[in-house]
């Protein structure tokens, strides 16, 4: 036991004295959450909009008013002719131009139809689509409003409700993804680097010659990162809850249990990587390419898995964070219990046991 505590103390000295580790451990999670939460947002907010109003009547004014008061759009320019549209898009600030036809109001009352043209800057096609959808929604609402009390024959009005994230807040999506990324980073990458460093510095030679057995060395290496990863998980969930209002509808205990399971998995992956890499550089590159990239790109964190080509969809099954993200979303946003996530949990458990087995087998009690 004394041995173990001595080893832990040594590990913590390493971590706390290395500025780089400290930055990755404690700076990274916070910066990532703030980045994803505030900056890399796919929500619409204050999209700059210009208006070309050929009509200038009360109806067009009211529509403009409705749109700008929604909070999604900001009116910045009033254009005088369509020729200006090209120039203003090229400048880049304005993403959307709303064109009212001449006699818009008159047409609306007399002919019951009036035309609005929406021009968007589609250099970012997803955003352009989103903007058009939002705008159409607002116009649809207005349409309903002015027709209130009148019979509109055969009108089908779809009423949508977004379950589990009714405001379509993207931060709800990102918190589980960031959890998976950070835990992967801290647990897998940091442990693999820290074991590889012992090899590189030659200290592993001395540890091996000592009476410590492989399990003691591995446990001593892993435990500090288990503790620090868990703290990180708490920080991420806490920041999500208190700053961005990401709910935890399901059981908090279950959430934490699943988190610890995933940390174990990441740690065993880290040990596995360290057993096959000779020095810190190799361990770092392996963690980066084998763990970080798939975690960010193929886990469904940023890009939906069902939109991927079939081979990648199949490949995504062997990426542990994918299952963890599904579990997190289910527990946090849908509030379900273990009965809905037992399959994913089982997959994680099997993966963990597999990697621990592999690394214990690969861990050498000698230099070769």
């Amino acid at each position: 036991m004394n041995r173990f505590i001595g080893f832990l103390k040594k590990e913590f000295y390493h971590i706390f004295r290395d500025k780089r580790s400290m930055l990755i451990l404690f700076g990274m999670p916070i910066v990532q959450i703030l980045l994803f939460g505030y900056v890399i947002s796919t929500d619409l907010k204050d999209v700059k909009m210009a208006v070309l109003d050929h009509s200038k009547d009360e109806y067009s004014a009211e529509i403009i008013n409705k749109i700008t008061s929604s909070g999604y759009f900001n009116l910045t320019d009033n254009l005088k002719s369509l020729e200006e549209a090209d120039a203003i898009f090229r400048k880049g600030d304005v993403k959307l131009i709303l064109v009212f036809e001449p006699d818009f109001g008159k047409n609306l009352i007399k002919n019951t139809t009036a035309n609005i043209q929406i021009l968007t800057d589609a250099t970012d096609p997803n955003m352009a689509n989103l903007e058009v959808n939002y705008l159409q929604g607002i116009l649809q609402n207005y349409n309903v409003e002015i027709n209130r009390g009148k019979k509109v024959p055969f009108a089908i009005q779809p009423k949508t409700r977004m379950y589990f994230n009714s405001n379509l807040e993207s931060v709800f999506m990102f918190i589980p993804g960031i959890m998976a990324t950070i835990l992967m980073l801290v647990s897998a990458m940091m442990t693999s680097i820290s074991i590889a460093r012992e090899k590189e510095m030659g200290t592993m030679e001395i540890l091996l010659v000592s009476p410590l057995n492989p399990l003691q060395i591995i446990l001593g290496k892993v435990t500090p990162y288990l503790a620090l990863s868990f703290i990180n998980a708490l920080v991420i969930v806490g920041m999500g809850y208190f700053i961005f209002g990401v709910p935890i509808l399901g059981s908090f205990t279950l959430l934490m249990a699943e988190t610890i399971l995933f940390i174990f998995l990441a740690l065993s992956l880290g040990i596995f990587i360290s057993t096959i890499s000779k020095n810190q550089e190799v361990a770092m590159m392996l963690s980066m390419f084998a763990l970080m990239l798939p975690t960010i790109i193929l886990s469904g964190f940023i890009f939906p898995i069902r939109n991927m080509p079939l081979p990648l969809q199949i490949f995504s099954h062997i990426i542990p964070p994918k299952w963890f993200i599904i579990i997190l979303k289910n527990i946090m946003l849908k509030g379900v219990g273990i009965e809905y996530v037992w399959k994913e949990t089982l997959i994680l458990i099997v993966m963990t046991i597999g990697f621990i087995g592999l690394s214990l087998k690969k861990f050498k009690t000698r230099l070769e």
Partner: protein, 308 residues
Amino acid sequence: MDASIHIDKISKSYGNVQALKNINLDIDSGELFGLIGPDGAGKTTLFRLLATLLLPDEGSAKLCEIDSVSEYKKIRTFLGYMPGRFSLYQDLSVIENLNFFATVFNTRIEDNMDMIRDIWLQIEPFKDRLAGKLSGGMKQKLALCCALIHQPKILLLDEPTTGVDSVSRAEFWQMLKGLKKRGITIVVATPYMDEANLCDRVALIQDGEILQVNTPNEIVEQFGKELYSIRSNDNYQTLLDLREFNSTHSVFLFGQSLHYTDIHNEAPIDELKTYLESKGRAEIKIEKIKPSIEDCFMELSTKSIEHE
């Protein structure tokens, strides 16, 4: 108590390179044993085999009568090993390093103070300094302390004095003498021939083969020929000239002078002088000297090359 080492026909290869060729070596309990040879001779490989870090391709080694392959775990409890490269934690202070290695061996510094006191007193003033910021000599003293913290029966030191200044080297050997008195078997590898005289016995090793095992004195006595030191105004030209000389047995450049042996036991000094003067050398000084271990090593290694 028996703390001897028996090495029986050990061979070890890395790919196509044979690092050790059929080595036999017996080191007695309590001996201060030197393994002398140039870089790449196979010293480190032999140490790692003894330290149970490598498996031999053939042959076996026993430390304290315990087999180094099948019972390596037992050996690891009583072995002190200091690798050639400084292998302590550079980001831990002196005292933290020592404490860590004490706990690894399930012991405490205080319990072993007796063993390490002489060395510890020298590094104690720096005990809060990070190990990475120590001087070369201090690093080696700390590494020795760490290797001794569990009172090993056998101490393996792989080039402990390489890269250390001459004062620290002398101090280091003084410490080894002190440890020897405690009955620890000490095996030291070194590329410095002058350190061989400080050992009880030495093995001269080259290209994975042991050339000779003997006491330093006997090795020198076996030299068998008169050795001459030759100086002139241009040592390098003299070397080239002597290689052409018809009764030269061997000639090597040794620092400021040339060491020369003749095919006859006694060299014809006058003839030599005349020959060198005819080649245009001046200020020629020729004197008889006692051979050193290094001379013996050169002699033995050229013999073994001629053999092949």
